[in-house]
């Protein structure tokens, strides 16, 4: 069985002209594809904006484009994992303090 081929590229999009400023956006392109006639064809692409470079008349500024929803969900997932680990440790300590089970 062949695994899908994954490619991750950072691609520059076309510049956007706004007044005297020029915005140079970049996009993270994540491609997952499988092309095997006997197993089938599969192609998945995810385009995620990464950052923009704002070029003024004399200055240039790099601005990241954050994924606020993704960051929030990641924080919640980390909190869920921390809750599970902490509660497991507390339960282990409680069982140790209470001593061994005397029931036969």
């Amino acid at each position: 069985m062949t695994l899908p081929e994954q490619r991750i590229r950072l691609v520059a999009a076309d510049p956007i002209k706004v007044g005297a400023r020029r915005l140079l956006p970049s996009v993270l392109v994540n491609t997952l594809s499988l092309e095997r006639p006997d197993q089938g064809v599969f192609h998945f692409v995810r385009l995620r904006p990464s950052s923009i470079v704002v070029e003024g008349e004399e200055t240039a500024e790099w601005i990241e484009i954050p994924n606020a929803t993704g960051n929030t969900l990641s924080t919640m997932a980390a909190a869920a994992a921390a809750i599970a680990v902490t509660c497991s440790l507390i339960m282990a300590v409680i069982l140790i303090v209470k001593g061994p089970n005397r029931r036969r």
């Binding site: 691609v11 520059a12 999009a13 076309d14 956007i16 706004v18 007044g19 400023r21 915005l23 956006p25 996009v27 392109v29 997952l32 197993q39 089938g40 064809v41 599969f42 192609h43 998945f44 692409v45 995810r46 385009l47 995620r48 904006p49 923009i52 704002v54 500024e61 601005i63 990241e64 484009i65 954050p66 994924n67 606020a68 929803t69 929030t72 969900l73 919640m76 909190a79 869920a80 809750i83 599970a84 509660c87 507390i90 339960m91 409680i94 069982l95 209470k98 001593g99 089970n101 005397r102 029931r103």
Partner: protein, 158 residues
């Protein structure tokens, strides 16, 4: 099969035509500021096709009460020892063929770029519904674990 291959080639070429510029929307001027919507785009397609052998075989003939001639056979001479069925091979003109596939796309706004006289900044867009659902799930998760701790704490060990 050529039609299926052509369909997949066409889908692939369409997906390659969707370039990275689709992520950034058309700039709009609102109250002296230029806003550029930014979206995350996902799309994909998949499918498969297969062929079977040409022709086939079937049992035919006079049947008794317990005989069933209406089934495929291996054409090894007899379909059933107790039945008077005969196995016939059918030479098909074309091989059996089947194919299936699917495709989908999604665009989700994640931010907008605000270009004004005071500078350029990126404002994130939070998917409040998704965050609220995740928050509710996290609350249930926490309550469940705290309940387990309390149960462990107050359960008397004999």
């Amino acid at each position: 099969m050529e039609a299926i291959d052509a369909l997949f080639d066409r889908l692939k070429s369409v997906s390659e035509e969707v370039n990275v510029n689709a992520v950034f929307g058309t700039p709009e001027t609102v109250e002296g500021k230029t806003l550029i919507p930014v979206a995350e785009i996902m799309y994909g397609f998949g499918g498969g096709a297969g062929t079977g052998p040409a022709g086939g075989s079937s049992c035919e003939g006079e049947c008794g009460e317990d005989c069933d001639c209406d089934e495929e056979c291996d054409c090894d001479g007899e379909c059933d020892e107790d039945c008077d069925c005969e196995c016939h091979e059918h030479a098909g003109d074309e091989a059996a063929m089947g194919a299936g596939g699917g495709a989908g796309a999604r665009a989700r706004p994640i931010a907008y770029i605000e270009v004004g006289p005071e500078g350029t900044r990126v404002q994130s867009i939070v998917d409040e519904q998704k965050v609220a659902l995740a928050g509710i799930a996290l609350a249930f998760w926490a309550v469940g674990w705290i309940g387990l701790v309390l149960k462990t704490l107050f359960t008397r060990r004999s």
